[in-house]
Every structure is written in structure tokens, then in C-alpha cells.
Amino acid sequence: MPLLETVGLSKSFDGLRAISNLDVDIEAGSIHGLIGPNGSGKSTFFNLVTGVYQPDPGSKIFFDGHDITRSPSHQIGALGIARTFQLLRLFSEMTVLQNVMVGYHTHVPYGFLSTIFNNSAIIKKDAETTDEMMELLEFIGLADYAGMPASELSGGQRRLLSLGRAMAMRPKLLMLDEPAAGLSPVNVENLLAIVMSLKERFGLTVLIVEHILKVVMETCDTVTVLDYGEKIGEGTPEEVKDDHAVIEAYLGQEMDDDEVRATFDS
């Protein structure tokens, strides 16, 4: 059974169809790529799955045996879907440590009332959580900046922090929205290495939306290609690479094999 399954997923904004009748299966333990030209509905797909948008009637989204089609975002997060945002959406006035602590929110072992009536126990539990989160920050290389406001990090560090915040949720499925956008090639390598080792360590399933095709081709097990909100191709990177519908949607014109190879390898 796939970890995430969408059946007939549709979403239109004022009659404009952003996603239509999309069936996607994401197998547990895989790295799944989602590619497509600008405006093909990749980010909308993310927002639908995480409950930021409500899908049109008739759509179904299943995650890990639960129907999450109409669930609010915070419940979907608690079930084990973590995501990053294209524009990061960090809590910029909070410190780096506080950012990842928020990610841990669903696992906090105490309720609101005990913060007032049993404060000493909470201080102890928060100290344990802090140790755990510092370990995570160490892993992504931000431990030195734990006390700094997130707004003072550099662009690459912010991207790492948004990944760390998502990982603090201990998710089953990690959805990365253009994780490599705006990063230098060295940083992209670094980020991918971190994602891969996180996947190994926590047995994650990863869904990547990416513009840089090299990233998708090198890391993904399966790739789904979207165009105008519809699935136009799916398969291993090798299969997708040779699919003419995909090449046409992506590149817009006929190319000979050498040109195609040059585009995908660059």
C-alpha cells in the first residue's frame, strides 16, 4: 500500500483548474520527484496535501491508512507529513532553537494546564527536548547559531533550518518544495547529502519538487511529471527522460537526442 495516495485530486481557483484528476501514489521508503514547468500545479499539490487549500469535491487523499482529504493542517502534521516552503516561512523573530522546537510541538509530552500547575516537571522535559533538538541542529550544522534569531542566518542556513524544523516533527513523509532554489552547486550537494542521510537514519519517504532537473534525476526513484495540472508522465528518471510527451511539455520543441541529453545533464 502506498504511503500517500491521491485519487481524482482536483482544485480550481475561480474556475481555473490548477490540478485536475490527479492520481499519485507515493511508495513508502522511496524518493519521489515531482517536476513540471512553472504553473503546472506542483505547489498547489503540496498545499492540497498539507491542508493549506481544500480540494474540490470528489477528491480523496489517503495517508498511511487515514483519509486526510478534509483534515485541518495541524492534524495532517500530527499524522506525520512534514513539508518545507518555497519561501521558507521561517519564524524569523524566533531563535534557531525555538524554530525547531516548534517543529517538535506535536510530540511535546505535556499539556497547557501542566505548564501552570506542574512547572518543574515541564522544565525538565523541555531540557530533554532541547538536548534532542540540539543534536538535530548539530546534524544539519546549525548548532552554533542556536541562540540567534532565524532572520540573521544566511540564505543557505535558512534553507537548512527549514529542513531541520520539518525534521523535528519526526515525519513519515517529508515534502520538500524546491529545496535547492537559490543555492550554489556546492550547497545543493551538501543539502542533498543531508536529506539522504536523514532518509537513511529515520526511514523517511521523501517527495521533492524541484526545478533543477539534475537534482531530481540523480536522487529520485520515481518521477511524476505535471503539466497544466495533469499527470503527463511517470516512471523512473530514465523512463521519464525518454518520454516524448515530457520532453515536449518541458522543452516545448523537438530536439535531437544530444540536445536532450545536454539539457538534462546540465
Binding site: H74, H105, T106, Y110, I116
Partner: protein
């Protein structure tokens, strides 16, 4: 500056040492140091300054509560003073008409204000920023007007001779005695706000303030936390109101709950530092003292306060608390880097 630095550092080290022995020790020390304050104030100045200390304690409770909802949860509310009024009037009416003691009237006043807090908080589910401010402004003002036009709530004469609290034969009937009621109350309020804001709930409030979508995606129930922040702040306002109503001479009037009062409260939170854990406390002390010292320029006070609010928002958006925070964070970072450099060499 170097002298200030070293004083600041030794002070914070001293507090760290104390809390290492027992985490309540700094609180007990502060409590003990504040105990003889009214006697000192009465001896050095006069009784009026004891009254001022009482007022500061009440304002601390109000602004600490406002800081939770506005500073930490980011909900711009201008209805806080209405909740204060609800707490004051309901506690006063219970004491006056039912003849129940302060110790019953006070908690009931807090609960009534807390329920009203849910109503003031409801618009926040849909509205944000200036729109939310307008909605809460309407609610707050309507409470005041309700009091002003209803004879049972005091109308234009106000509620008179509200009995002071008593324990056995001891009556809190002077400012000096009443101080021993409001000061511990303010301390408990501060302590509770620290416990709430330093827990996961406080972090969730901040996350809602920073970005509601990101907060929701990370598993935070945004609506629940917004309402929770409103209710907590309402409980604080209700407590402040109940204490204000029973403070000698036991008189409340709807003029105590005007929009000017609300602006003063906002000023406290903004000056103290929006979203800074000490913000409300610093602000309440500084603003009450400045307000009092400039009483002779009564007519120019709104101008003075309005202008300084604009200047603070422009040039010191994080307030006094923000400056302190920045200083501490930078120092810590430098210390860590120096340590690393030492270890490397």
C-alpha cells in the same frame, strides 16, 4: 558602557547561581526585597508614592496579560481595557450587592472576564491586523458605554464604597496594606506568564504570530492557540480589575476604562518590548512613572504619549526589552566563538 556591562554580567551570573541552587530562589529574593517598599516610599517620599506602587502592580498585571496576546500571539487587540472593566465591575457588584467577601468576588470577576475574553477573541479567528483592532476596539468601547449608561453598573456616578478585602480582623484599607495584596498578585502573575511563555504553549503563540500557515503545518492548532491567548490575557485583565475595584477608596468609574487608558496600556507593551518576556513589566513601571511625573502637563500628555509611541515604533521597534535581548544574544554568541577560538589555538 564597560561599567554597565560588568554590572549586568555579574548580576545575571548571580541570578544564574541562585537558580542553580533552587529555581524559585531568585523569585523569593525579589519578593523579599519588595516587601519593605511601602515603608521606604512612605518614609522617603510620602503616601502618594505607595499608591503609585499599587497602581504599577495593577498595570503590570494588565500589560503582562496584554503582552501575551499582542506581543507573543501577535493578535492586535484594543479591547483589553474592556475586559479590565468587566473584571472590575463584576467583582465590585458581587461585593456590593451580594455582600460576598473579596475572596469570592475576586475569582468570580476573573472568570467572568475570562468568558468575555472568548467573545473578544472570536473575531481573531477570521480577522487580522487593523481589522481585528477595529473589531476589538468596538467590543471594548461598548463595554465602557454599557457601564456608562446602566445605573446598576454605576452609570455616571460610578460604584462607590466597595468594601476592602479582609482576612479575619485584618482589613486591607490603606494603600500601605493593600500593597501586600497587589504585589504578591503581580508576582504570581509574572511568574505564571513566565511559565506559560517559556513552555511549548509560548512557542506555539510565537509561531502563530510569525506565520499562521507555517505554524499550522507544523502541527499547531492556530484557532485554539489564538483563543487561548485571548482567554489568558482576559484572566489577567479580570484579576487586575478586581484588585483595582477593591483598592481603597473602593471607587470605580467608567472614565477609568477609556480608550486613552487602552493607549497607555499599549504604550507599556510597545515601550517594554513587544513579545519580550519582560516587556510588559518594564513598560508598566516606566510608563506609570513617566505618566505620573508629567501630570502637570496634563493637556499635553496625549500629544506626548502619541508622539513617543510613533518614535518608538520607528526607531526602537523591539522596545527596551528588545535592546536587552539583542545585547544578551550577541554577547553569548561572541563568548561561544571566543571559547572555540581558544580551544582551537
Amino acid at each position: 558602557m564597560a561599567a554597565v556591562n560588568s554590572i549586568f554580567r555579574s548580576l545575571s551570573e548571580f541570578i544564574d547561581q541562585l537558580s542553580a541552587i533552587h529555581r524559585m530562589l531568585p523569585w523569593l529574593l525579589a519578593f523579599g526585597m519588595l516587601l519593605p517598599l511601602p515603608q521606604i516610599l512612605a518614609a522617603v517620599f510620602n503616601d502618594y508614592y505607595v499608591y503609585l506602587a499599587n497602581r504599577i502592580c495593577i498595570f503590570i498585571m494588565l500589560s503582562v496579560g496584554l503582552n501575551i496576546v499582542k506581543g507573543f500571539c501577535g493578535q492586535v487587540t484594543v479591547g483589553h481595557v474592556g475586559l479590565y472593566a468587566i473584571g472590575a465591575v463584576s467583582a465590585a457588584l458581587i461585593s456590593l450587592h451580594l455582600g460576598w467577601s473579596f475572596w469570592i468576588a475576586f475569582p468570580i470577576g476573573i472568570l467572568v472576564a475570562g468568558l468575555a475574553g472568548v467573545i473578544v477573541g472570536l473575531p481573531s479567528v477570521r480577522l487580522e491586523g487593523a481589522y481585528l483592532a477595529l473589531a476589538t476596539l468596538g467590543l471594548g468601547e461598548s463595554v465602557r458605554i454599557m457601564i456608562a449608561v446602566t445605573p446598576a453598573f454605576g452609570s455616571s456616578t460610578g460604584l462607590l464604597s466597595i468594601p476592602p478585602p479582609t482576612i479575619g480582623s485584618f482589613t486591607f484599607d490603606s494603600f500601605e496594606k493593600y500593597y501586600y495584596l497587589v504585589m504578591p498578585a503581580a508576582m504570581i502573575g509574572i511568574y505564571m506568564s513566565f511559565s506559560i511563555l517559556r513552555s511549548a504553549t509560548g512557542r506555539a503563540f510565537m509561531a502563530v504570530r510569525e506565520d499562521t500557515i507555517a505554524a499550522a503545518v507544523h502541527g499547531i492548532n492556530v484557532v485554539k492557540h489564538k483563543l487561548l491567548a485571548f482567554v489568558i490575557s482576559a484572566l489577567y485583565a479580570g484579576a487586575a480589575g478586581g484588585l483595582f475595584a477593591h483598592m481603597p477608596p473602593g471607587y470605580i468609574h467608567h472614565n477609568n476604562f477609556t480608550i486613552i487608558e487602552m493607549v497607555t496600556l499599549l504604550m507599556m507593551v510597545v515601550l517594554g518590548g513587544i513579545g519580550h518576556i519582560w516587556g510588559g513589566i518594564i513598560g508598566a513601571i516606566v510608563v506609570t512613572v513617566i505618566y505620573d511625573q508629567t501630570l502637570e502637563f496634563y493637556f499635553y500628555q496625549p500629544l506626548l504619549f502619541g508622539l513617543s509611541m510613533v518614535l518608538i515604533v520607528m526607531f526602537m521597534p523591539r522596545g527596551i526589552g528588545g535592546l536587552i535581548d539583542r545585547y544578551l544574544v550577541t554577547r553569548k554568541f561572541i563568548a561561544v566563538q571566543e571559547e572555540k577560538a581558544d580551544a582551537a589555538s
